[in-house]
């Protein structure tokens, strides 16, 4: 029988991952030193990850390449603006950071103004404007597609009533109150559906972690102990 081989660092990695997973799950009992260790390590590792990510994927292509290889020295302005942000660490000179933040906030506001207006406001309004009566061509001529008609009406009434709920310039009484109440129902269904989806996503992650612990960690370790899998020396 041919014995499977697992690289040492892969096997070691599985153990590290398994122990860290158990450290975090230990929080289910109560807050404890193992959880705190894993929690702080996670923060450090995540911050370190983004250092590498931003350096290679943001700074090199967006600053170093145009500045160093294309001789576009105006990119120094961006770095100077960036450095002003670091003045926030000083109590006396913190005001200098306003220049860098002003640039980021100004650009952000300009980008969001157009992006949100286009994709979240206008595109959603456009998507809501669907035929109130859906027609299909069949053997007997043009027929009403009742199913789609009802579904479209549900969507249109839902959007309009939920938007009415967010209209606070008039008290929600009478007809307006009734429509707003209908809007609340649609919003509650929406929240319920989102909640259900979130729960299932978390359960799916939990199943993934359990699968890892049982099959990748315990089963592999048992196989290594029984000699069914050999630990190699390669990476």
């Amino acid at each position: 029988m041919e014995i499977a081989n697992i690289p040492f660092w892969d096997f070691f990695g599985v153990w590290v991952a398994a122990l860290l997973t158990l450290f975090i799950f230990s929080f289910l009992y109560k807050d404890n030193p193992f959880y705190k260790f894993a929690e702080h390590l996670f923060v450090g590792i995540s911050a370190g990850y983004f250092v590498g990510y931003y350096y290679y994927n943001v700074l090199l292509p967006n600053f170093w390449e145009p500045f160093y290889y294309q001789g576009r020295y105006e990119y120094l302005i961006a770095v100077i603006l960036g450095i002003t942000i670091l003045f926030r660490l000083s109590r006396k000179q913190a005001w200098v950071s306003r220049f860098g933040f002003a640039f980021v906030i100004g650009c952000g506001a300009g980008i969001n103004f157009i992006a949100y207006l286009q994709s979240n406001a206008l595109a959603q309004i456009y998507g809501t404007i669907t035929p109130l009566v859906s027609l299909v061509s069949g053997e007997g001529g043009i027929l009403v597609d009742w199913k789609n008609t009802v579904f479209n009406l549900v969507a249109i009434i839902g959007v309009c009533s939920a938007l009415t709920y967010f209209y606070f310039s008039k008290p929600h009484k009478g007809f307006l109150g009734g429509v707003a109440r209908l809007g609340i129902w649609f919003l509650m269904i929406s929240f319920g559906a989102s909640f259900g989806y979130t729960v299932m996503a978390r359960i799916s992650l939990l199943i993934g972690r359990m699968h890892f612990l049982i099959f990748d960690w315990i089963e592999t370790t048992i196989n290594v102990i029984n000699g069914n899998i050999a630990i190699g020396s390669t990476f």
């Binding site: 990695g13 991952a17 398994a18 860290l20 997973t21 975090i24 799950f25 289910l28 702080h40 390590l41 996670f42 923060v43 450090g44 590792i45 995540s46 911050a47 990850y49 943001v58 105006e74 302005i77 961006a78 942000i85 670091l86 926030r88 005001w95 306003r98 220049f99 933040f101 002003a102 980021v104 906030i105 100004g106 650009c107 506001a109 300009g110 980008i111 969001n112 103004f113 157009i114 979240n120 959603q124 579904f151 249109i156 839902g158 959007v159 809007g183 129902w185 649609f186 919003l187 509650m188 269904i189 929406s190 319920g192 559906a193 909640f195 259900g196 729960v199 299932m200 978390r202 993934g208």
Partner: protein, 206 residues
């Protein structure tokens, strides 16, 4: 200088992005500003990083409560950053650390919420009024609709997975769409306030 100059920067930077939408003459400067924006935003991350490091070093130096946990934080931060600079981010120790430490811890942290969601569900799903019943019914249908029992053929024309799809495509979409439109109008309003210098909270105190 301390207030008027930042307000001018905000106005010019923001207006470039808006005006280029109407006139292609401003597209080159908008593209340049986009690159600069990305670079300057990285320095905001550097600021956070410097603050995190400073706070944890202070904690260790002053031996404040829980200072011992600052050590793995700083080691993790320095280790991951050094690995990326020395070995790159495509292979080697950086990828090993990502696959065997960051990824499992991230997935486990989020999976922990599955347990806490159970207690949250108990509070949210107490059907005390009509609205709570709707939330409860929608959530239960969507949850069951995603597991095998939801697509089991015990009711040929009315499977839970089909009802889930319908809820997601119509009532849920209607609610989400209203929230998106409302939020978008809010973002547009706040962006205008910032560009016109009415909203100045980001300037901080004198």
């Amino acid at each position: 200088m301390k207030k008027q100059f930042p307000l001018a920067i905000v106005f010019i930077a923001g207006m470039i992005f808006i005006v280029q939408f109407f006139s292609p003459a401003f597209t080159p400067i908008q593209e340049r500003f986009t690159h600069w924006y990305i670079v300057v935003a990285v320095f905001a991350f550097v600021l956070g990083l410097a603050n995190l490091t400073r706070l944890n070093l202070q904690k260790i130096h002053r031996q404040q409560e829980g200072w011992i946990y600052s050590i793995p934080l700083l080691i993790g931060l320095a280790g991951m950053a050094l690995c990326s600079f020395i070995f790159g981010i495509e292979e080697g120790p950086f990828v090993w650390l990502f696959n065997n430490m960051m990824l499992p811890m991230s997935a486990t942290m989020f999976s922990l919420l599955a347990f806490f969601v159970a207690s949250a569900s108990y509070r949210a799903f107490r059907a005390r009024h009509k609205e709570a019943v709707m939330l409860l019914v929608a959530a239960v249908i969507v949850m069951l609709g995603q597991v095998p029992i939801g697509s089991a053929g015990f009711m040929e024309h009315l499977r839970l997975s089909d009802i889930t799809q319908w809820i997601m495509a119509y009532p849920n979409m209607a609610g989400q769409r209203a929230i998106m439109i409302g939020a978008a109008l809010g973002v547009v309003a706040i962006s205008l306030r910032i560009l016109l210098g009415i909203e100045r909270a980001y300037l901080g105190e004198d």
